[in-house]
C-alpha cells in the first residue's frame, strides 16, 4: 500500500495534469475575464487610445466602435470592430 502510494506520488509530481495546474489554468482564464469586467473604465480608456492612434491613419466612425474581450474555449481575445469611413491621404504622422 505504502509503496504504491509512494510510487504514485513520485510519478505524479512531474505531471502537468496535477490538479493544482488545472486549477491555475482555469483561474488564469476566468480572471482575465473577471478583471476586464471589474473595470469597464479600462476598456473605455483603451478605446480612446485606439481612436487616437487609428485616427492618424484613417477616418473612423468613433460612435460605432466596439471593443470587447471575448472568452473562448482556452483563450481570451481582444476583439475590436472599427468601421472605417475613409483613408487619409497623408498617412505618416508627425
Amino acid at each position: 500500500m505504502a509503496v504504491l502510494d509512494f510510487l504514485n506520488r513520485m510519478f505524479s509530481r512531474e505531471n502537468s495534469n496535477n490538479s493544482k495546474n488545472i486549477a491555475k489554468e482555469r483561474l488564469r482564464l476566468v480572471l482575465v475575464h473577471d478583471r476586464s469586467s471589474v473595470s469597464p473604465e479600462i476598456i473605455e480608456a483603451l478605446k480612446e487610445d485606439l481612436i487616437r492612434v487609428i485616427s492618424n491613419y484613417m477616418e473612423i466612425d468613433e460612435r460605432s466602435l466596439e471593443v470587447n474581450l471575448n472568452n473562448e474555449d482556452s483563450s481570451v481575445a481582444l476583439v475590436a470592430n472599427i468601421p472605417v469611413l475613409g483613408l487619409k491621404r497623408r498617412n505618416v504622422p508627425r
Partner: protein
C-alpha cells in the same frame, strides 16, 4: 491615532472571523489597545468565536444610530484584565441597510482616537455590507484559501478595494495543507501570489486546533501548542512592523506517521 484595518475576502467561510479574532487577540497579547468591530449585521459571529456572546447588551446599530455611545456598547474581554481588548458586536435582528457608509466612517474616526488597532470584520459578498465595512478603513487584509473559488473572489475583492481607495491590501492564505501542496494537488503560496499579485501577510496551515478553539470560544493565538496559533502570532508581529519570516510548513513524515499509514490509520 490608531489604525483602521478591514479583514475581508469576498467568499464566505474562508476564515475572516477567525482571522479577525486571532489577530485582535494577538495584538492585545502584545500590549496594544484593540477593538474588533463585527459588521456582519444579521449574521453575527465574531462574538461566539471570541466567547463573548453572553455579554452583549448593545450592538453596532445602537451606536451608529446614536442611541448609545460606543463605550457603552463595547464588550471588554476579561482575558485581558486592563480592558485592552474590546468587541463591538453586530446587530442580529436588523439587516445591512441599518448602517450606512458615513456612519461607519464616523465610528472608525471615533474608535481610532482611543484604540491602537480598529479591526473590522467584513461580511461576505460585495454589496452594502462590504461597502460599509471598508468605508472607514485605511488598510485591508484579504483572506483566501487555496481554492479556485476563494481566489477568484479574492481577486475581485482586491479590485474593489483598490477602486475604493484601499491600495496594497495584504494577503492571508488560510487553511493551507502542505502535504497536498507537496503532492501538486493544492496551489502553493507562490502560485497564489503569482495570480493575485499582492504581498503575503501570512500563511495559516489547516489545523484541528482551530475547530477546538472555536468550540471553546478561545482564540487559538493564545494556545502555545497550536500551529495555526503560531501562524497568527507571526502575523500579529508583522502587523506591528516586525520582520518575521514565513513559518516552515515543510511536511516531514515522522516515524509515527509512517507507522500509522502502514496500518491504515491515516487521518
Amino acid at each position: 491615532m490608531g489604525e483602521v484595518m478591514v479583514i475581508t475576502s469576498g467568499k464566505g467561510g474562508v476564515g475572516k472571523t477567525t482571522t479577525t479574532a486571532n489577530i485582535g487577540t494577538g495584538l492585545a497579547s502584545l500590549g496594544y489597545k484593540v477593538v474588533l468591530v463585527d459588521t456582519d449585521i444579521g449574521l453575527r459571529n465574531l462574538d461566539v468565536v471570541m466567547g463573548l456572546e453572553n455579554r452583549i447588551v448593545y450592538d453596532i446599530v445602537d451606536v451608529t444610530s446614536g442611541q448609545v455611545s460606543y463605550s457603552k456598547a463595547l464588550i471588554k474581554d476579561k482575558r485581558f484584565p486592563d480592558g485592552r481588548l474590546n468587541l463591538l458586536p453586530a446587530a442580529q435582528t436588523k439587516d445591512k441597510t441599518a448602517v450606512n457608509q458615513a456612519q461607519m466612517q464616523k465610528l472608525c474616526e471615533d474608535l481610532k482616537k482611543e484604540f491602537d488597532f480598529v479591526l473590522i470584520d467584513c461580511p461576505a459578498g460585495i454589496e452594502q455590507g462590504f461597502k460599509n465595512a471598508i468605508a472607514g478603513a485605511e488598510k485591508a487584509i484579504v483572506v483566501t484559501t487555496p481554492e479556485v473559488s476563494a481566489i477568484r473572489d479574492a481577486d475581485r475583492i482586491i479590485g474593489l478595494l483598490e477602486a475604493g481607495g484601499l491600495r496594497n491590501p495584504r494577503l492571508i492564505i488560510n487553511r493551507l495543507r502542505p502535504a497536498m501542496v507537496k503532492q501538486g494537488d493544492m496551489m502553493s503560496i507562490e502560485d497564489m501570489v503569482d495570480i493575485l499579485a499582492i504581498d503575503v501577510l501570512g500563511v495559516v496551515p489547516e489545523d484541528d486546533t482551530i475547530v477546538i478553539s472555536t468550540n471553546k470560544g478561545e482564540p487559538a493565538v493564545l494556545d502555545d501548542n497550536s500551529r495555526a496559533g503560531q501562524a497568527y502570532r507571526n502575523i500579529t508581529r508583522r502587523l506591528t512592523g516586525a520582520d518575521v519570516p514565513l513559518m516552515n510548513l515543510e511536511v516531514s513524515e515522522g516515524l509515527f506517521d509512517k507507522v500509522r499509514k502502514i496500518f491504515g490509520m491515516g487521518r
